[in-house]
Every structure is written in structure tokens, then in C-alpha cells.
């Protein structure tokens, strides 16, 4: 690997030092009693429109996204741009459904999506299914944040042999674990402001400077092989790449706000109004994500894939090295330091929120539900703090000892799993028509079918569904959640007739501000 890039590394470390201080200082920001779970785990539900914008933006548009989406464009071309329609479609869902969820959660002091399902449908087993799905889908996502961190640390020439190579990663994670433990959600919220500003600076610099260096967008797109420039036109009797593109976008959009960390970020807002405003303001991040997807093409045009100085990086990190390589190629070392710090800090923000979300889930919906039914407020908050440490440790061990590719596989599978909670969480916000046992059966069948499709498609998220001689290759998450929903609708009258239905702890007025 190349020499250590000292200028970049010093700036990277300086920025990291700053956010470490910020993470600990955040405990005193909008001060609350951190011995209460909703103070530690939701920042006291006190974040206004602007802080929510930074927090949710930092939460959803993760470091891994900023590395992986351009990497996909670099390697596979146009299909990577599905991230743009995906992020276009998430905001109407946020705008319509989530102020309702916020209101009911605020009213009943629900902290997790499973808390809501428990109250709405009164079924602890359904809530347990939502909880386990949330934790299982989140864990590999935390691990993947480390991949972004690994790539930029490696790109600065910091390496070693054996486990020493992982030392920088371990240090970053110890810092993360410590400030999350002490400050809770306030830490990633304050760091997100720094991170997002750095990411915006980086993205706009890249989109302005690199095209000038490369002779304009015309030259860049001319360098992209024709097969990568557009989606392949489908052949006869198949929806081909069109179907994959549209179902990936729609399925991902439906799944996104079901992730526990998304819900955590949204519930931390100070009102439903702040959420609605953010549905119109958060697309700023989508625009930046689209620009960054184009950076994958810049990397093709700049020829970094064949440059000898980057060969070792591509060998180690694959296409995920495309963006760091382009930055090393196009920018002075001091700016590389800023850009890499943006990605590195960008990994810590979602990782912190995800670990908090998973900790809240365990504490509320497993420990309190099944183990210690009457914890004091302090015990509950303390439990969540410990679990957040365990979750992060698990992710760290995973990424050090298991090949990265498995984390990627599991994260892809995670999308298919989390979408199975859509009927109980997202539709549950609107209707109590569904029978809770029917929801549980639908969840189980959807989950099993999703895992089967994922496996049948050789551990890829797109399954070639065949109906009457026509092939519909598409995102298994979308196919299986439709199956899930059909089962719920069919079984609801059946289970209702059998009389097994629990009470609803919420009333219609709870859903309005």
C-alpha cells in the first residue's frame, strides 16, 4: 500500500478529536435527565426542524451509502441511480405517516416501533417479532458503517499486519461507544451537524472541481461504457433491468422508515410539524446523493481503476475504493483529509443512532416485556446504555473476524426482513382493522419467503419471479411484503371469527397533534 498521507491524516485526526469532544459535551446540550430512557435514547424529543434535518440526514444518508452508491455506479453503472427515485419516494411516506406515529408515540411515551405495535395490537408476540426483526436488520448495518471507516483509513496509507491493521478502527469505535454511553442521542445529533456540513462541502467540491479537471460532463459521460450509461432494455417476456430498478427503488423506500434507527431519529423531533417540514427539506440530501452517484462516473473518467498507485487499494477494498481513489487523484492532501473525515465521522453518526435504537428495542421490548416487568426509570436507562455497548462490540467483532462480504449480504437481507414489519407499523398507524395474529402469521411467511428468495437468487436481493411464462426480476422485499399483506388480509376475518383479538391501547385522537 502507499505511503502514509500525513497531511490528510493529521486533518482527519484533528476533526475526529473535535467531534469526540463534541460528543461528550453534547450531554449538556438541551440538558435533560439522562437517567430517563426517552432523554438518553430520544434526546428528550426536543429537536426542532433544523436539528432534526441534520440528525435524520446524518442517520439515513450513511457513510456506507456515500461509499457504496458511487462504487455501484463505478462498477455497474446506471442501476446505481435507483438511489435517487428511492429517496424521492421516501418523503411522501415520511410526510403522511410519521407525524401520526410521532403523535401516538409522544402521547403514550412509546420509544420504539415495537412499543407502538404492542400498544396498538396488544400482542406481545407480534411486538417481539417486530423487535427481533429490527435488531437483526440493524446489526449488519452497524457493521457496514465500519466498512466506510476502514476504506478511508486504508486510503490514507494507515495499515499494518494482522490485528494491528484493525487498531484505528478499534480506537474509533471505543470513542463512539464512550460518547454514546454518556450522552445518548444528543451525541450523534450534535456530531451530525459537523458531519453533514463536511459532507456537503465535499460533495459540492467534487461535483464542481472534478468535472472542470476532466473537461466537463460531456467528456465524463463519453468515458462511461455505453452498457453502463443506461439501463439495459429488457428482452421479450421479461421486465428485465426496468423491473429491478423500479422495485429496488420502491421496496427500499417502503423499508427505510421501518428501520429502528430511522424511527429513533424521527421520534426525537419536537413535533409532527417538524417532521412534515423535514419531508420537504430532507430531499437536499437526496440531491447530494445523486451528485455523489455521479462521482462513480467521475472515477471511471479519471481512470483511477487502472492507475498503478491505486491497484493495492482496489485489490483490498474492491469498487468501494473508487471514491477515495478519485479524491486522492483529484484533490490536495489537506482537502482529502476533510473529505475522508466527512466519511469517517459520517460512519459514527448512524452507527451511534443504530446502536441506540437497538438498545432501546432490547430494553423496552425484550427485557421489560419478558424479564423484568417493572424496572425503575433509572434501571431502564442504564440497561439501554449497556446494551448499546454490547451491540457496538458485536458489530466490531463481526467486521474484524468475518469477511466484509458477509456484512454486505446480511445488510441486503436486512432490507427484506425489515419490510415485513410494514403491515403492523406503517399500516398500523392508519388502521386497526388487521387481526394481530394474522399480522404475526403474515410476518412469519413473508420473512421465510424472503430468506428463501434471497438464497435462491444466490444471496442477491433480486429474485426472478416467473408468472405464466413472464419473468419479473425484482426486489424480493417488495414481492414478499405483498405476500405478507395478502396473508394478513385473508387471515384477519378468519382469526376474528375465532375470537382471538387483543385490545387497542390507543384511540383515534392520539394520532393527531
Amino acid at each position: 500500500m502507499q505511503e502514509v498521507n500525513w497531511t490528510a491524516l493529521i486533518i482527519f485526526i484533528a476533526l475526529f478529536g473535535f467531534i469526540t469532544w463534541l460528543g461528550f459535551a453534547a450531554a449538556h446540550w438541551r440538558k435533560g435527565d439522562l437517567d430517563l430512557l426517552h432523554e438518553w435514547g430520544l434526546g428528550g424529543r426536543r429537536f426542532g426542524t433544523l436539528v432534526t434535518w441534520f440528525l435524520v440526514g446524518g442517520d439515513l444518508y450513511t457513510a456506507y451509502t456515500f461509499i457504496a452508491v458511487p462504487a455501484l455506479a463505478f462498477g455497474a453503472g446506471a442501476i446505481a441511480f435507483f438511489a435517487v427515485p428511492y429517496t424521492i419516494m421516501i418523503y411522501p411516506i415520511l410526510f403522511l405517516a410519521f407525524p401520526r406515529l410521532w403523535n401516538v408515540c409522544h402521547k403514550h411515551n412509546y420509544i420504539t416501533p415495537a412499543d407502538f405495535v404492542r400498544g396498538r395490537f396488544g400482542n406481545r408476540w407480534l411486538a417481539l417479532a417486530v423487535t427481533i426483526t429490527g435488531i437483526v436488520a440493524t446489526m449488519p448495518y452497524i457493521a457496514l458503517q465500519l466498512v466506510g471507516l476502514q476504506v478511508v483509513i486504508g486510503a490514507m496509507g494507515v495499515g499494518g499486519t494482522g490485528y494491528a491493521a484493525d487498531l484505528p478502527l478499534v480506537i474509533a469505535f471505543v470513542i463512539l461507544a464512550a460518547f454514546t454511553y454518556s450522552s445518548g442521542l444528543r451525541a450523534p445529533a450534535s456530531i451530525a451537524i459537523v458531519k453533514d456540513i463536511l459532507i456537503y462541502i465535499t460533495a459540492f467540491a467534487a461535483v464542481i472541481v472534478v468535472p472542470i479537471q476532466l473537461g466537463g460532463f460531456g467528456h465524463i459521460f463519453a468515458a462511461v461504457p455505453p452498457a453502463k450509461l443506461l439501463l439495459a432494455v429488457p428482452g421479450a417476456n421479461t421486465t428485465g433491468a426496468y423491473g429491478i430498478y423500479a422495485t429496488l427503488a420502491l421496496g427500499s423506500a417502503l423499508a427505510l422508515f421501518l428501520y429502528p434507527h430511522s424511527v429513533t431519529g424521527i421520534l426525537a423531533a419536537s413535533s409532527g410539524h417538524a417532521i412534515r417540514r423535514n419531508a420537504a427539506l430532507l430531499p437536499g440530501y437526496s440531491f447530494m446523493l445523486g451528485l455523489l452517484a455521479l462521482v462513480g462516473f467521475f472515477a471511471i473518467a479519471a481512470g483511477v481503476g487502472t492507475a498503478p498507485e491505486f491497484a493495492a487499494g482496489f485489490k483490498q477494498f474492491g469498487n468501494n475504493f473508487a471514491v477515495p481513489a478519485l479524491f486522492l487523484h483529484s484533490f490536495p492532501a489537506w482537502f482529502v483529509g476533510i473529505a475522508f473525515a466527512a466519511v469517517g465521522i459520517g460512519a459514527l453518526v448512524p452507527a451511534a443512532i443504530m446502536s441506540i435504537a437497538a438498545a432501546n428495542l432490547y430494553t423496552r421490548n425484550i427485557h421489560r416485556e419478558f424479564i423484568n416487568k417493572n424496572p425503575t426509570d433509572k434501571e431502564e436507562a442504564q440497561m439501554a446504555k449497556w446494551v448499546s455497548l454490547i451491540v457496538k462490540l458485536g458489530a466490531l467483532i463481526f467486521i474484524i473476524f468475518v469477511p466484509t462480504q458477509y456484512a454486505i449480504y446480511l445488510q441486503l437481507l436486512g432490507g427484506i426482513l425489515i419490510i415485513q414489519t410494514l403491515p403492523s407499523v406503517l399500516l398500523g398507524v392508519y388502521t386497526r382493522w388487521f387481526n394481530d395474529w394474522a399480522l404475526l402469521v403474515g410476518w412469519a411467511v413473508g420473512t421465510a419467503a424472503g430468506i428463501w428468495m434471497f438464497d435462491a437468487a444466490n444471496w442477491t436481493p433480486n429474485y426472478p419471479l416467473v408468472i405464466a411464462g413472464h419473468t419479473f426480476p425484482g426486489y424480493s422485499a417488495l414481492y414478499t411484503v405483498i405476500l405478507n399483506l395478502v396473508i394478513v388480509i385473508v387471515l384477519t376475518p378468519v382469526f376474528n371469527a375465532m375470537g382471538g383479538r387483543h385490545a387497542d391501547a390507543t384511540v383515534a385522537a392520539d394520532y393527531h397533534g
Binding site: 446506471a78 441511480f81 435517487v84 427515485p85 429517496t87 424521492i88 419516494m89 418523503y91 411522501p92 410526510f95 403522511l96 466537463g216 460532463f217 460531456g218 467528456h219 465524463i220 459521460f221 450509461l229 443506461l230 439501463l231 432494455v233 433491468a241 426496468y242 430498478y245 423500479a246 427503488a249 420502491l250 410539524h273 412534515r276 417540514r277 419531508a279 420537504a280 427539506l281 430531499p283 437536499g284 437526496s286 440531491f287 445523486g290 451528485l291 455521479l294 384511540v507 383515534a508 385522537a509 394520532y511 393527531h512
Partner: protein
Amino acid sequence: MNGRTHERSAWSWWYLLLIIQFVVVLWPPFYNSVEPVWAGIPFFYWYQMLWVIIAAVLTAIVYFATER
């Protein structure tokens, strides 16, 4: 019953505006082309980027029309 009328009053026809952004991006054959190129950028790319902005504006319109 009171809650129910409340719920009904929460619906607004303005919300239908939000369907537009689903329709325009969910049909790839419509925008899967290089021409017309704008500033060197193929249609496929600038069309979808443009819809990020339009969708945000539509959401803002719905927000101001329905905020009570």
C-alpha cells in the same frame, strides 16, 4: 365518535399531489435515454435529479396548503 370525525377532517385532497412523484420515477422506460442531453448530462440522470427538486417543491406546497 368524536375521534372519528377528527380523523376524517385530517384528510386533504392536496395529498394527491404527492402521488405524482411516485408515478414519474416508477416507469423507467420513460426516462431511460441519453437524449435530450443537458449540459453534457444524459436525460436519464438529469431527469431524476430534477424530480428530486420538483418533489421537494410539491411536498412544500402540500405542507403549506394543509398546515393548520
